[in-house]
């Protein structure tokens, strides 16, 4: 595969691109869901949930203080002990999910806190359930605050997924190295990968900005 311009190379790069996208999009989406759960959990009052609140706190503080590479290794060893059948890509995606959830919990939390407390109390005295308060009053106002930093985080995290190459996941960065090792000129190999990274970040950023605009406009139509 020393010739760069071949369908083999294209397929190889497409596979790597797919894995980078998979880790980012699936990992961050699951991370957003988990992070939202953590943020909500941390804002509950129920005494019975106190132990869970502590766990959520440890999770959020812990995963934000450890380098992503260390988290990757940690997840690798943990998963190999309990679920040895999970693929390397699955392991890396899980690591992304765990890490992203810690950061996104903070971002979602800031969005929830941005909704004026008296509005929530008004919803409460009108008898609205916890779920109704969340879905009808809080989230519609929190989204505009959550989305820009959440999208920025995701765009930034595209680059961090390159560390999954340390596990042996053939994602974009690793694929460039493999191509070059096989005799492709570094300029072509790394250049192609560089363009592909830019090609992911740019539309992701744009999509986020569009969504943000639409959510912001929702208030006034």
């Amino acid at each position: 595969m020393s010739a760069f311009f071949s369908t083999d190379t294209a397929a190889f790069l497409a596979g790597a691109l797919g894995r980078t996208l998979w880790m980012t999009i699936i990992g961050c989406t699951l991370g957003l869901l988990l992070g939202a759960g953590l943020a909500l959990l941390r804002r509950t009052q129920l005494r019975a949930l106190a132990p869970l609140r502590l766990l959520a706190l440890l999770h959020v503080e812990g995963f934000r203080r450890v380098p992503f590479l260390v988290i990757l290794m940690f997840v690798l060893f943990f998963v190999q002990a309990v679920a040895p059948d999970l693929s390397l890509l699955g392991i890396a995606t899980l690591a992304v999910t765990l890490t992203a959830s810690a950061y996104l919990a903070e971002i979602v939390g800031a969005g929830l806190d941005a909704v004026p407390r008296p509005q929530v109390e008004s919803a409460q005295v009108l008898g609205l359930s916890w779920w109704d308060r969340l879905v009808r009053v809080v989230l519609p106002q929190a989204w505009g605050v959550i989305l820009p930093p959440a999208a920025a985080f995701m765009v930034m995290f595209v680059k961090d997924t390159a560390l999954a190459s340390q596990l042996g996941v053939v994602e974009l960065a690793f694929s460039a190295k493999i191509l070059v090792n096989k005799g492709v000129s570094p300029l072509l190999g790394y250049g192609a990968v560089l363009l592909l990274y830019a090609g992911i970040s740019w539309p992701l950023g744009r999509a986020a900005r569009l969504l943000e605009k639409r959510l912001g406009a929702h208030r006034h139509r």
Binding site: S122, V125, L126, G127
Partner: protein, 245 residues
């Protein structure tokens, strides 16, 4: 029997005690005004009454039955018959005026949406805002938002309404329209606890005035007696200070 009877209420935030045994009551259809200096605990009384702030002692009874605020079901039942309006309106900013009025009746009381909407339009007409149903709160003036907030509370058809300085955040020229709305309400037979610094209004509308200071009730009486011949020096001093401007 009193409609709402507050006996020896003790409450605070965190460690500090704000209410040191507050007692007063309101008969059905009566308008009771809470007055007193800033920080005396007027808002706290209303917050405890509707279950937003826990009490550490005393009881609040509705129609003679003490409310068990520790039981969520009891608080939910209470909130079906008791509404509150705050100084800062607190309308849901993400929805239109009509949606603000329809949400709770539909979700909390299970009123069919069409019926809730019809009732909401009636209420908006009653507070003089029939043409604002489709507006968002931040497109309205403060006085208009406050009237929507009152209509939103009324949409739940409460028989007790708590009003906490509902004109305090308004421009002077907007105060009148909100007072007019409340005046019209007083004639409907709803029981109201009103915290207000509008002494002329209190005098006109209240059948009873409760003077609070430092978490206690200093004096209670009909407005004429309270304003013209207070028995407590603390009340006299407060009246003098507040009526000066």
């Amino acid at each position: 029997m009193a409609h709402i009877d507050i006996v020896d209420l003790v409450a605070g935030y965190g460690g500090s005690t704000i209410l040191n045994g507050v007692s007063f009551s309101a008969g059905r259809g009566e308008v009771v005004a809470l007055i007193g200096p800033s920080g005396s605990g007027k808002s706290t009384v209303l917050r405890v009454a509707i279950g937003l702030t826990p009490a550490s002692g005393g009881t609040i009874s509705i129609d003679g039955t003490p409310v068990d605020y520790a039981r969520p079901a009891a608080v939910a039942a209470l909130r079906r018959r008791m509404g509150i309006v705050f100084q800062q309106y607190n309308l849901f900013q993400n929805m239109t005026v009509i949606d603000n009025l329809v949400l709770a009746p539909v979700r909390t009381l299970g009123v069919p949406p069409a019926q809730a909407a019809a009732r909401a339009h009636d209420l908006l007409a009653r507070v003089g805002l029939a043409d604002k149903a489709g507006s968002y709160p931040d497109q309205l003036s403060g006085g208009q938002q406050q009237r929507v907030a009152i209509a939103r509370a009324l949409a739940m058809q409460p028989d007790i309404l708590l009003l906490d300085e509902v004109t305090a955040a308004l421009d002077p020229e907007r105060v009148g329209e909100v007072l007019e709305t409340i005046r019209a309400l007083a004639d409907t037979g709803i029981t109201m606890l009103i915290v207000s610094h509008e002494m002329g209004f209190v005098r006109e509308i209240a059948s009873q005035v409760v003077m609070m200071d430092a978490g206690r009730v200093v004096e209670t009486g009909p407005p004429a007696a309270m304003f013209d011949a207070p028995t407590q020096p603390r009340t006299a001093a407060f009246m003098k200070a507040i009526l000066r401007h």
